[in-house]
């Protein structure tokens, strides 16, 4: 598992959670907030990705990333740690 694959997982979760964005092209450089994903949806997407990665850590440890790529990097480092 690398950061690119995790970013793809996040993007798949975005499509799942926000039907309006299902057909949208998204990359690691996009920020969820700027895509129009609201705060509740963002938390759902992060939780669903954590579940897929079988990552059990407090959510507050995932605060801070500015875009999907940074979130993927952080998730990767937490998974490895």
């Amino acid at each position: 598992m690398d950061s690119t694959q995790i970013a793809e997982m996040i993007i798949a979760e975005i499509r799942e959670t926000v039907p309006e964005l299902a057909g949208e092209t998204m990359t690691a450089a996009d920020s969820m907030a700027e895509l129009g994903v609201d705060s509740i949806e963002r938390s759902e997407i992060i939780l669903a990705t954590m579940e897929k990665l079988n990552l059990k850590i407090p959510m507050v440890q995932l605060h801070g990333p500015k875009n999907i790529g940074e979130l993927a990097d952080l998730l990767l480092s937490k998974s490895a740690g």
Partner: protein, 418 residues
């Protein structure tokens, strides 16, 4: 066997005026394509002659008035729970004591822990009753919070933007005793989850700062953590089966929905359809009043409780689970039993009717209030309140049972009944 303890009587006061939240969002140009998901409708806006004291007293007065002289004489403690204090030293409880004409042999103090304050106050009162140091004594616990966060300048409105639609005002008054008609607490059945985090704070008297994502994350962590601690203490507890209804701290309904979904997935790997149905059944009633007053901070979990009791069909005692969260942060999951007798007692307070009677502010009137020119700021030495600031909002004929702020003289706030 522990003695019974809990809420003997309660009331919620949602102020004198409100704003339509949809109208506010449109006015602010907030792009909220999924506005409905937020589950917000109206929010109470405190008028200049309303402050944390008037909210608290107006919530508590019907509760105290319903008591006999002997019962009133047994109120031996008044705890005000707030993050909207008006003085660093003097507690709001002293004003409640005066305007509710309570006995002089009384402990008066105020406590703070953001939106967790109400539960902190409730548990302190509950433990006072359980301790039996003064058998038969009652404690009055009153949460009171208002939000006036855009007073500083134009930048303050910007900073406040993310929570402006949900920030409300309101007070919940609860009489805690060994005759808990409204909510018989399951003494000893609770769970806490706390850690230091800077998610939302009030760094100055009229400012709020925060990070919506971090606050939501801390809330979700706490919801799971506090329930886990509850389940550790309470043998056989099952989130899905034990509680007929649930009442969560409600910044806005959408957040509660997210937390419920999180727990249902974490504990049961439940599917979306089951989660949605369970939310509607067990948490839908809790939003009845919250979606009309907005986030009432320390009182929000009790606003949820009152909404649940007032709106559900109740033919026999049923168990309720409560979750309280306060930024910073501390949280608690606990439970208690409600009954038809308590429902009748609560309905006599007429909470819904009082909300209906609030004045609906126009956006122009709301904006006028936001400039804060007519508002008594923290630390004001002298002031006279303008009753005609919003002409339509002042009741044309009062019954003398509602407290308003009149003036401030040498820092002392003077109130009158209208």
């Amino acid at each position: 066997m522990r003695g019974s303890v809990g809420i003997e009587a309660m009331n919620v006061f949602g102020g004198m005026a409100y704003l339509d939240v949809r109208e506010l969002c449109d006015h602010r140009g907030l792009d909220m394509p999924r506005f409905e998901n937020l589950l917000m409708q109206e929010k109470t806006v405190a008028l200049p002659y309303e402050d944390p004291v008037t909210f608290a007293v107006n919530a508590a007065k019907p509760v105290v008035d319903a008591l006999s002289a002997e019962e009133r004489a047994r109120i031996e403690m008044v705890i005000t729970c707030t993050e909207s204090g008006i003085d660093f030293g003097k507690s709001l409880s002293t004003f409640l004591h005066r305007y509710l004409e309570l006995p002089s042999n009384c402990r008066l103090f105020e406590i703070k822990q953001a939106c967790y304050s109400g539960t902190a106050g409730l548990q302190m009162a509950v433990n006072f009753v359980l301790s039996q140091t003064s058998p038969g004594a009652k404690a009055l616990v009153v949460t009171t919070d208002i939000s006036r966060f855009a007073l500083a300048d134009a930048a303050a409105v910007q900073e406040w933007a993310y929570s402006e639609p949900s920030s409300g005002a309101g007070a919940a008054a609860m009489l805690i005793s060994d005759t808990p008609h409204v909510l018989a607490l399951d003494a000893g059945a609770y769970g806490n989850h706390a850690f230091e985090v800077m998610d939302t704070c009030r760094p100055g008297p009229d400012t709020e700062a925060g990070d919506a994502d971090l606050s939501l994350m801390a809330y979700l962590d706490c919801c799971a953590g506090a329930y886990e601690d509850y389940a550790r203490r309470v043998e056989g507890a099952d989130f899905r089966e034990t509680f007929s209804w649930l009442c969560f701290h409600t910044p806005f309904g959408g957040m509660v929905k997210g937390a419920h979904r999180h727990l249902m997935r974490k504990l049961y790997k439940a599917k979306p359809a089951e989660i949605a149905e369970d939310f509607e059944t067990r948490l839908g009633p809790s939003l009845a009043y919250g979606k009309r007053v907005g986030n009432t901070a320390g009182g929000s979990v009790f606003v949820a409780l009152a909404g649940t009791i007032d709106t559900v069909e109740l033919s026999e005692p049923r168990r309720i689970g409560l979750f309280s969260y306060g930024s910073g942060c501390c949280s608690e999951f606990y439970s208690g039993v409600i009954s038809p007798d308590g429902k009748a007692k609560l309905q006599a307070m007429g909470i819904s009717k009082a909300l209906d009677e609030r004045y609906r502010l126009s956006i122009a009137e709301y904006e006028k209030l936001l400039t804060g020119e007519a508002v008594v700021r923290f630390g004001t030495k002298n002031a006279e309140l303008d009753r005609q600031i919003i002409p339509g909002a002042w009741p044309s004929e009062g019954k003398g049972d509602r407290l308003v702020l009149d003036s401030v003289v040498d820092y002392h706030r003077n109130y009158s009944w209208i």
